[in-house]
């Protein structure tokens, strides 16, 4: 019996949501088990303690494996068509193209356009200043070597992270705000050009491509040259030997031992 894509996609969605819940439950159970073991006393990890937790989670483990395999079986039995690709255009380029098409604006239009352009310079500038201000204290903290005496590095790095990371997160949030505002401004400017084009039925003009080509080949081969020179110096100054020395011993940091 042929089945509509509509129905197939609904089945896939429901199956996907169930699998998602199982995956999340599995992740949470793993984390809770790990914390349980950790809190169980000194030297808590052993084959027995881990084995006991895994057997407690057996049902969830099988369920998760079943859900993954079931997903494959479902796509074989009821294949869903691929989603149509949605176009995502660069707002800046779209605006530039429309600007070229619109030709010369009137004075009032030009004033509004200028305002938007200024705003789009102000937003990043303000963001940059705020970001830099945010980084002052973490910067001073990081470059004060007394904060990193090496007595208890984990505690020192935790303290540093608590200072650096909030600043970084606020900084990224500021950047997000900046892109939202910039995008809104681009949309307003685009709307002005659209209006000009609609009103004057302006003729398209030749599109400007004013990006200067980068002297890529020069940079490329310079990088290659520096790379080779550095590797050769590294072999002689012993930094290559250090890589080997460290790599042939189990890295206690990598695997979380110390």
């Amino acid at each position: 019996m042929p089945m509509t894509q509509d129905k197939i996609k609904k089945i896939h969605l429901i199956y996907g949501c169930i699998t998602a819940l199982i995956v999340i439950a599995f992740g949470v159970a793993m984390m809770v088990s790990c914390l349980d073991i950790y809190n169980s006393g000194p030297r808590p990890y052993s084959r027995e303690s881990i084995g006991a937790k895994l057997s407690e989670m057996a049902v969830l483990i099988w369920l998760s494996a079943g859900a993954v395999v079931g997903g494959v079986v479902l796509s074989i039995l009821l294949p869903a068509d691929k989603e149509k690709t949605k176009a995502v255009r660069d707002e800046q380029i779209t605006m530039q193209k429309l600007a070229a098409k619109a030709g010369t604006p009137t004075d009032t239009e030009a004033a509004s356009i200028r305002k938007e352009k200024t705003l789009r310079k102000v937003f990043p500038a303000v963001t940059a200043v705020l970001f830099a201000a945010l980084l002052i204290y973490p910067g001073i903290y990081l470059f004060n070597t007394n904060n990193f005496s090496g007595v208890d590095p984990t505690a020192e790095i935790l303290a540093a992270s608590l200072i650096v990371m909030p600043a970084a997160v606020i900084g990224l949030a500021l950047c997000y705000l900046c892109t939202v505002l910039t995008s809104a401004s681009l949309k307003r400017e685009t709307a002005i050009y659209k209006q000009i084009i609609a009103e004057r039925k302006a003729q398209p003009v030749a599109e400007e491509v004013n990006e200067k080509p980068m002297p890529i080949n020069i940079i490329r081969w310079a990088v290659f040259g520096v790379a080779v020179v550095f590797i050769v110096i590294g072999i002689f100054n012993g930094s290559a030997q250090d890589v080997l020395t460290k790599a042939v011993k189990i890295c206690t940091e990598c695997i979380g031992l110390g």
Partner: protein, 518 residues
């Protein structure tokens, strides 16, 4: 770009399909693409020491001198080479003695050759994420917020990979990213080693750090199910470094601006946070090649591995998930076909050769059966002293309780316990207990006595010496490649306590008190 994260499943299509075509359609969409084959090949080649999974050892041969291009923990038992990110942090950590030319050169070379093509084709951790993302669940698509969040990896690069190792340079081995974040280390390194029954003793070493790293790993793994390349996009400092080279790398993506009609389909199809094809976020996965209606997007570089999808003016194939490398087009010239065959045969020969070298020719150190177990007399080895002429051996301290600790200066667990757990032994037991601190044989090009004087307490009563070539004393106690080890000998020189891994003052003093009471 879309404003909000949305589910990628909707139901606007009402076509019907013939159920009979299910398996064939599924296979057409899911059969391994050329990119996937190269990913699997690279993962196997850079993890050719497969016998490590069986015997629980990491590979310790000279090939570890070379860094592999992708994120591939060198503490994974199968790892054939070194992780460039781990090597970079350790080199920055050692800048007090020498400048890290070698690893800078390696990163520049990989950047020049591949850029983030490595992420799409060569990195095993990228492959793992690609496969996990295939689990059938609703997916969180990219949006403006994920694009901003993609800059987080640069902050991680600066803070954890560069600043922290530099701050502790000469004081403490501290590869910040490896130690506090890296999921590749937890999954491949810890996962590969600790799940082996032969490394059961390492489990006793696990504590708060492992717990933190494990929780983080679970968050990353769950994130990878719902968000494409969750780790690569937001957290990976290695991808951040390679991304800087995307514009100049020999391999990668090329966008022909004169052909581009700015339809936006490429960016819509792309799962990474790219703004333009080939920018610093592009991993050369090739998805966009398939949807570009004017064939403006091609692979850069020689056509020997991948056809650049030149289709002689025809629109590129738009079959879902068809391999862009195999897109129909002008047939390849005979010369290219022959070259491809030669390359394929060479690649297979290299893989076969590596598998034979790592698994058959290279011999891991055999476990030394010299009875260095609790209850046995301690094996006797002569060790050169650091601060005096002459040597010392365990039997020299008969008649006294002796604590022997094995360490090396790049091991932060070792240095930490020597700074925090051992000094109290001398304070509380004075001359009743002899503390012998044995450094691993290697010289590191470091002046170890100077390092000791600068970084370890000088009034802790430590007798500093080093093991013989190839660390025979360490190995006689069951040591392989995991430091530290601590043993406590009674007055007759019999081993009464042995800890492979970090120890604590409390544990040691409990044993010493018992021995003193006897």
């Amino acid at each position: 770009m879309k404003k909000d994260a949305t589910l990628n499943m909707n139901n606007d299509n009402t076509e019907t399909i013939k159920p009979k075509t299910g398996l064939r359609k599924w296979w057409a969409e899911h059969k391994p693409t050329k990119r996937r084959i190269i990913q699997l090949y690279a993962a196997l080649l850079t993890n050719a020491n497969l016998k490590g999974f069986g015997n629980g050892y990491i590979y310790i041969g000279d090939a570890k001198f070379a860094c592999v291009p992708g994120m591939n923990c060198y503490s994974c038992p199968a790892a054939a080479g070194s992780c460039p990110l781990g090597a970079l942090q350790n080199a920055l950590n050692a800048t007090n003695t020498k400048l890290p030319y070698y690893i800078f050169g390696i990163l520049l070379l990989y950047g020049f050759l591949f850029g983030r093509w490595i992420c799409g084709f060569l990195c095993p951790f990228g492959l793992i994420q690609d496969l996990i993302y295939k689990i059938k669940t609703p997916k969180l698509k990219k949006n403006r917020f994920t694009r901003i969040a993609s800059y987080l990896k640069y902050i991680i690069l600066v803070v954890f990979v560069i600043i922290i190792p530099l701050l502790y340079s000469g004081k403490m081995p501290l590869p910040g990213f490896c130690k506090y974040i890296c999921p590749s280390g937890t999954l491949l390194g810890a996962g590969g080693l600790l799940t082996n029954i032969k490394n059961e003793n390492l489990l006793a070493m696990l504590g708060p750090l492992f717990t933190w790293k494990f929780l983080l790993l679970v968050v990353f793994l769950v994130g990878m199910v719902f968000i494409y390349r969750f780790f690569c996009r937001f957290f990976c400092p290695l991808g951040a470094i390679y991304g800087l080279f995307n514009k100049i790398s020999l391999l990668g993506m090329n966008l022909n601006k004169s052909k581009c009609v700015d339809c936006g389909l490429c960016i819509g199809e792309c799962l990474m946070d790219v703004k333009k094809v080939g920018d610093h976020e592009c991993i050369s996965c090739g998805r966009c090649v398939n949807v570009c209606p004017t064939n403006a997007i091609t692979y850069k570089g020689p056509k020997i591995l991948l056809a650049p999808n030149e289709v002689g003016g025809q629109p590129a194939t738009k079959k879902p998930n068809a391999d862009p490398c195999d897109a129909p087009g002008t047939p390849l010239p005979k010369k290219t076909k022959i070259a491809r065959l030669v390359v394929a045969i060479t690649m297979l020969a290299v893989l076969a050769g590596s598998l034979v070298y790592y698994n058959v020719i290279h011999k891991d150190p055999a476990p030394v059966e010299s009875g260095g177990e609790v209850g046995n007399l301690c094996p006797d080895y002569e060790m050169p002293l650091y601060f005096e002429d002459g040597t010392i051996k365990p039997s020299d301290s008969r008649g006294k309780i002796t604590v022997v600790n094995f360490w090396y200066i790049y091991c932060s667990a070792c240095v930490h316990e020597l700074k925090t757990e051992f000094p109290d032994l001398h304070t509380n037991y004075g001359d009743d207990v002899e503390i012998v601190v044995v450094h691993s044989y290697e010289e590191f090009g470091e002046d170890i006595p100077t390092w000791i004087n600068k970084n370890l307490p000088t009034d802790a009563g430590f007798v500093h010496c080093r093991d013989g070539e190839d660390d025979p004393f360490f190995k006689s106690l069951g040591g392989t490649s995991a430091w530290p080890i601590t043993i406590i000998l009674d007055e007759e020189g019999v081993i009464q306590y042995k800890m492979i891994g970090s120890t604590t003052y409390e544990e040691m003093s409990e044993v010493i008190n018992k021995l003193l009471a006897d």
